[in-house]
């Protein structure tokens, strides 16, 4: 172990002088620079400035969100690892645990959709397997501009590129992508959202953390050689996407899923081998953040010789090596004297490891270049003294005004006289339509554990060797959050949990991805704080603590901020695979029962947007106690074997939910439904009132089901029956009727996205351009 030197680092030849302009370029405010001076007791070197700017960026430092994140519930008896590690971990019994986390790659995907999305998947997979978990599933949550809009061409290119990027990466590594969601709205034009969630399974005793413990233990760099990829990607990801840095085009990171697969197998072998004490992905802000965070977690220091880091390009400076975001790299802290065992395991997978430094007891973050100190920073303040801000929040008056809108102001369109027309429009809307074109590009069955893949309310993955399975979903309606951030946050959590319960699972825990605009704008900070408040409230009532997540701010395009989009990834447990329930009707003659009450709400609905071009009104009301009662009772009914299918009412309301249940599965089935609520037809059919689930059950069990709901105080009404396969889809209200062949509705629903993408030059474009770098 090298001797600790006390002399302060000198600037390197060729380092730019530290000027206010340079500090500013590094995204550090005057005050922040002041605290850097205070921490160091001297002026930082250029390299040190880079280190601070990375560690104190939004991405690593959570400057603007930490105080808000602290308000989230994070504990429960089943939570083994809460926020702060590479991924959250929960106990699912039988000695097994689940590690899961969500990550965003919004800005990289806006610049280079294919590589941006691919490397997003790579990063989140590493976060999971560095916990000692074998990844078993990926989900993706996507937002694009209007596919039919003026930017339609770019949207097609982004959609095709992002989907191929996610697919090529996950497919190659061999992790099934089993679910997700996609929304299209002009609010995301120029700033698409790409959130990826990974789930892994581990034996409880194999849980390992990203720590740098044991003074004198060697620190090893594993995997790909370091290049100049995405230098300042982390700070870039935290800066608004302007025409400027569009042009600047930072070196995009290129994914190598093949190396990732080798890393995955080697890492799991390493962790089981007992030769290492800690392991962490070199993710955003690469070597800097991984090494400092590992040291901070264990209150140690590190002493790194930068010239020992294997590099891909000649002449790389310490600054570049420390901040590079080359993918498929890991930082490993081995047990002293076990370096050769570590190398042996890696060699088996054709991977190299280089010892680049040591764990020290100095608590200092020390980096040398040929022995000469170039960085010397007290580790603790570097990680924890990152200034955090509680910004001023103020709601935009325009949005407050939107909420005052009421359905009474609506002028129905003549075509609406026939609600069948309206339903056709909604089923053809890309946000509602089948996502088959997307998810069929994802291998959803590799690893042979996928009981329910894409196409139902939640994905279900069996746990081999047990009767159990886990269910997972990812959800968020950004339009609700735009109109009413607090409700939007509550609803995102409630819908995710509802999707799990509909699949027969008990919701356990949440990973959240907060996608928002520029927090320095009071109206954006208001959205952020209110949405977090809503999430906290719902997670508390529904007993789904937050075990980790990701914050992506500055999601803006030249026309302003995106919809606030607090994406909620949720994992639940199915006690017995016999309880697995799907969203599709299963047999002719089954009885259709609606759980929950219809309201006249239309605010924020897909109906208003698609039929009237309106984004207005208040988000649907949600009573969390009512939601909880619905979910508990439905799960009870499913476990009692009373339920054949269950599908929550989401975008498009009851009519679309019924159509989706009829179209999927063995159908398309006919449907015969009568609704006698005293409500306007449009609101009744297409309103998006919360806490509703359309279930089907056999004649034999309907009375028991209704009786159970009565005892639990959950509104439940027998509204109709499942018709024959290929039959008519009929839904009657007091004043209107939907009537169409179910096969025709299925055709509309299934062809909506393909007909917009097939042969689109942008799709060919995306398909081609991956050729060079990926299979």
């Amino acid at each position: 172990m090298s001797e600790f030197t006390a002399d302060a680092p000198l600037p390197r030849a060729g380092d730019p002088a530290i000027t206010p302009a340079l500090v500013d370029e590094h995204g550090l405010s005057g005050d922040e620079y002041e605290s850097i001076l205070a921490i160091l007791g001297r002026e930082p070197t250029f390299t040190e400035l880079g280190v601070f700017s990375a560690m104190w960026s939004e991405h690593c430092g959570y400057k603007n969100s930490k105080p808000l994140l602290r308000t989230l519930p994070t504990t429960a008896p089943w939570v083994l690892q809460g926020p702060g590690e590479n991924a959250g971990v929960i106990d699912v019994g039988d000695g097994l645990a689940i590690a899961f986390k969500v990550e965003s790659h919004n800005h990289p995907s806006a610049v280079e959709p294919y590589q941006g999305a691919a490397t997003g998947v790579g990063g989140i997979l590493r976060d999971v397997f560095t916990m000692g978990a074998r990844p078993v599933a990926v989900l993706d949550s996507l937002r694009f501009g209007e596919i039919d809009g003026p930017e339609g061409g770019r949207v097609r290119y982004l959609l095709a590129g992002v989907v191929k990027g996610i697919g090529d990466y996950g497919n190659c590594v061999g992790i099934p992508t089993v679910g997700g969601e996609v929304y299209f709205d002009s609010a995301y034009e120029g700033n698409p959202l790409v959130n990826a969630m990974a789930i892994g399974v581990l034996k409880k005793e194999e849980l390992i953390k990203g720590v740098a413990e044991g003074v004198g233990n060697p620190i090893m760099a594993v995997g790909s050689k370091t290049g100049r990829d995405g230098i300042h990607g982390a700070t870039f990801a935290s800066a608004e996407l302007t025409e400027e840095n569009q042009k600047k085009r930072p070196q995009v990171q290129v994914g190598d899923p093949f190396t990732e697969k080798l890393l995955l197998e080697a890492s799991l072998e390493l962790i089981r081998s007992g030769h290492i004490v800690g392991i962490q992905d070199m993710g955003a802000a690469g070597l800097v953040s991984s090494s400092t965070e590992m040291a901070a977690r264990s209150g140690t220091g590190v002493d790194i010789e930068i010239t020992d880091v294997p590099v891909r390009e000649p002449g790389m400076t310490p600054y570049e090596i420390l901040l590079s975001e080359t993918q498929e790299r890991m930082l490993v802290v081995a047990k002293r004297g076990h370096e050769d065992d570590v190398r042996a395991i890696l060699a088996r997978w054709d991977l190299d490891a280089a010892t680049i430094g040591w764990v020290t007891d100095t608590g200092r973050y020390l980096v040398r270049e040929n022995g000469r100190v170039v960085v010397d920073i007290p580790g603790e303040p570097l990680v924890d003294a990152c200034p955090t801000y509680t910004r001023e929040g103020r709601e935009s008056p325009e949005i407050a005004r939107l909420r005052e809108w009421t359905p009474a102001e609506l002028r129905p369109r003549p075509e609406e006289a026939d609600p069948t027309w309206t339903l056709r429009q909604l089923l053809d809307a890309p946000t509602i339509a089948s996502k088959r074109w997307i998810y069929e590009q994802y291998d959803s069955t590799v690893r042979t554990n996928t009981v329910v893949g894409p196409g139902s309310d939640a994905a279900v993955i069996r746990l081999r060797g047990t009767r159990k399975a886990i269910a997972a979903t990812i959800d968020c309606n950004g339009r609700y959050a735009y109109l009413n951030p607090r409700r939007g946050g509550r609803i995102a959590v409630a819908e995710a949990a509802r999707n799990l319960v509909c699949s027969g699972a008990r919701p356990l825990a949440v990973t959240d991805n907060l996608n928002f605009g520029n927090p320095l704008k009071p109206e954006v900070y208001h959205q952020l704080s209110e949405a977090v408040r809503g999430i906290a409230e719902a997670c508390t009532v529904l007993q789904t603590p937050v075990t980790g997540g990701n914050v992506s701010l500055y999601n803006e395009n030249p026309r302003g901020a995106i919809y606030p989009t607090p994406t909620i990834g949720m994992v639940g447990l199915i006690e017995d695979v016999a309880h697995v329930t799907r969203s599709h009707f299963e047999a002719e003659g089954d009885v259709i029962v609606l759980l929950g009450g219809n309201t006249g709400e239309l605010g924020g609905s897909e109906y208003l947007k698609v039929i009237h071009g309106l984004v207005t009104g208040d988000a649907p009301a949600i009573d969390l106690a009512v939601e909880a009662a619905l979910q508990h009772s439905l799960l009870e009914a499913i476990r009692a074997g009373l339920v054949r299918s269950a599908h929550d009412c989401a975008e498009g309301g009851l009519a679309v939910a019924l159509a989706e249940s009829a179209i999927g599965g063995g159908g398309p089935f006919g449907v015969e439904v009568d609704l006698d609520d005293d409500l306007p037809t449009a609101a009744l059919l297409f309103g998006e009132a919360q806490s509703r689930v359309a279930v089907s059950c056999t004649h034999a069990s309907v009375d028991a089901l209704l009786d159970l709901m009565r005892r639990r105080g959950v509104p439940a009404a027998r509204i109709g029956r499942v018709g024959p396969a290929g039959g008519e889809f009929v839904v009657r209200t007091r004043s209107g009727e939907i009537r169409a062949p179910s096969a025709e509705l299925a055709r509309i629903y299934e062809s909506a996205i393909p007909r917009r993408m097939e042969g689109a030059p942008q799709a060919v474009d995306a398909a081609l351009q991956s050729e060079v770098s990926l299979p």
Partner: protein, 231 residues
């Protein structure tokens, strides 16, 4: 009975295959490492799916040079049963152990979905448990599964009954719509003249447990089991 499953760098269906051998074939399964120089006395070999060497350059192009492939070739020449699934099929073609090649799907998109395939020849060691004309539901998951070969080769394959499976519709009709990846003559799987080397794009190992949607793939493993006990 010992069945070997080869693990190449980038294989990702090797474990699925290993479990299917245990569960559907009821035999001992062993992993064979790509750097190995012997097959450890196995009675049959599976080349599993995945992206060996990242499928860089061409699917299977690099894997065929692995040391283990020399052993696999000799084993096959001695009449030993060898099945290549998905990437395994691509490797067998690249290695010249099966004719033709697998190129990019006509749609240029990766396809992952259950497809219908028709059993074209019921014969040992891999398809004897199926009826000729039987329609199976089995998942595909590939980006380069479009089978191509020159016309003589295709004619010969058909003439000599070496086409094992074809993409078809639910009723067993061979239609263009049912041709998942645009393969010549809807070919989903073929065998060599001796019939002991099989290559197919669909994944029977993903269809051995009805809980996951289909048990139709089990027949392939049962066929092999029967053949091994009688042989």
């Amino acid at each position: 009975m010992r069945i070997g499953v080869v693990t190449f760098p980038g294989s990702n269906c090797d474990y699925d295959c290993y479990k299917a051998v245990q569960e559907a074939l009821g035999a001992e399964a062993v992993f064979l490492w790509h750097k190995d120089h012997d097959l450890g006395g196995v009675d049959a070999v599976f080349l599993p799916g995945g992206f060996s060497y990242g499928d860089y350059l061409r699917a299977g192009a690099i894997a065929r040079f692995s040391p283990i492939m020399r052993e696999v070739r000799e084993f096959a020449e001695r009449g030993g049963p060898v099945a290549g699934i998905c990437n395994g099929f691509q490797i067998l073609c690249e290695a010249g152990m099966l004719p033709g090649a697998l190129i990019r799907n006509r749609s240029l998109r990766f396809i992952s979905r259950p497809v219908h395939i028709r059993v074209e020849a019921s014969r040992p060691p891999f398809t004897s448990a199926y009826r000729e004309g039987q329609v199976l539901t089995i998942p595909v998951a590939h980006g380069e599964g479009c089978y191509v070969a020159d016309d003589e080769t295709l004619d010969r394959l058909e003439g000599e009954g070496l086409v094992a499976f074809r993409y078809c519709d639910a009723a067993g009709e061979i239609t263009p719509e049912a041709n998942a990846n645009g393969s010549e003559r809807n070919i989903a799987g073929i065998v060599n003249e001796r019939g002991n080397v099989l290559g197919m794009m669909p994944h029977p190992e993903r269809a051995v447990d009805p809980l996951l949607g289909s048990g139709d793939g089990a027949g392939l493993f049962r066929s092999l089991a029967e053949w091994l006990v009688t042989a």
